[in-house]
Subunit: 187 residues, 2 copies
Amino acid sequence: MPRVKQYNEAEVIESAMGVFWQNGYKSTSLRMLSKEMGINQFSINASFGNKQNLFLESLKLYRTKLQQLLKTFEENSNGIESIKNFFYAFAEFSNQNEYKRGCLMINTMSEFGLEVDKEVGALISNYAEQLKALFKKNLEFNTTKDNDTIKRQLNYLDLAIGGLGLATKVKDNTAIEDYIEMTFNNL
Amino acid sequence: MPRVKQYNEAEVIESAMGVFWQNGYKSTSLRMLSKEMGINQFSINASFGNKQNLFLESLKLYRTKLQQLLKTFEENSNGIESIKNFFYAFAEFSNQNEYKRGCLMINTMSEFGLEVDKEVGALISNYAEQLKALFKKNLEFNTTKDNDTIKRQLNYLDLAIGGLGLATKVKDNTAIEDYIEMTFNNL
DNA sequence: TTTATTTCTAATCAATTGATTAGTTTTAAG
DNA sequence: CTTAAAACTAATCAATTGATTAGAAATAAA
């Protein structure tokens, strides 16, 4: 009996993700979202509840996209060079757009710091842990390093990928390439 | 004949800088500023014009503080180890507060990306160039490297200090120390 | 066709924003 | 003292925010 939805939720979330990616959470208004998603504020509320939850759903979608990079990374885990390949893939993914939007995850970390919403923080932490596990696996590939070395190199890679995410928002491709190359001179 | 100001502009700017540092530009309201600065919105307007200009003045103050780190860096420029010392000093400066506020410059870069206000962008660029010049001086100290190596190492350090600024907002001190140590294993 | 149910449109809500104003108080020169 | 100029207080402005509402439109089951 009911009237049927005239939009696809997966499609409009894709649009919302793009707006948040480009502008951040606070600078994105529901009216901007409404316009870009092609539905009005009532429909946003009906499908996603509120702005915060729409942001969370956008982050989830973003994560599924990053998950594809992680999948490739996992399937091609042959040591340091594989980590480096992931760094390049990550940089390319962050640069896919005509605009310099950086990485939505890193942008969100920077915007909220430690005072991030609980669910958002959990999503980011979960992703970060998954990534670190892959770093660890590849750091240990075909070599024997003591635990302290592994731990230090893990922290190094963890902070380096964060720096790379920030860099894709404000630096040019040459600087980014130099950075990645130099980063892996160490390992 | 006129009534005299009941506040010191240098002091209230110090307060304003702290609020912007902790919350970013957009999340800081004039009412928050008014409260922390101890003067009302009219006085903010009288002394600084508007929010944007108060932010610019706060950034200028922040820069004068960083300038002291640069001075020490410049006076102690004996090669790679001096760069490393600056990294530690920078991390310590960013961590001086009970809160994790990161670096106001890096925070601002992340908040606005390439669409930053012209004057704010010029201030940040100017600082970045000054810092890079010191990096270069120390990279070249007592060694002969080809121009391409210098250029790559400069980009590496430039992005690494950005990553460090981000890290001081969200990572613990151990991770930061590991990061700095590992960064300089390369050079 | 009828009808119950859901979606959609467009307007509006209170709260907050940056900014400004009218009116009062203070101050130092004359 | 008197007084002109500046600073102060407190209120208010229009614009924007996230969120909600009332009523119209659409749809599929009966």
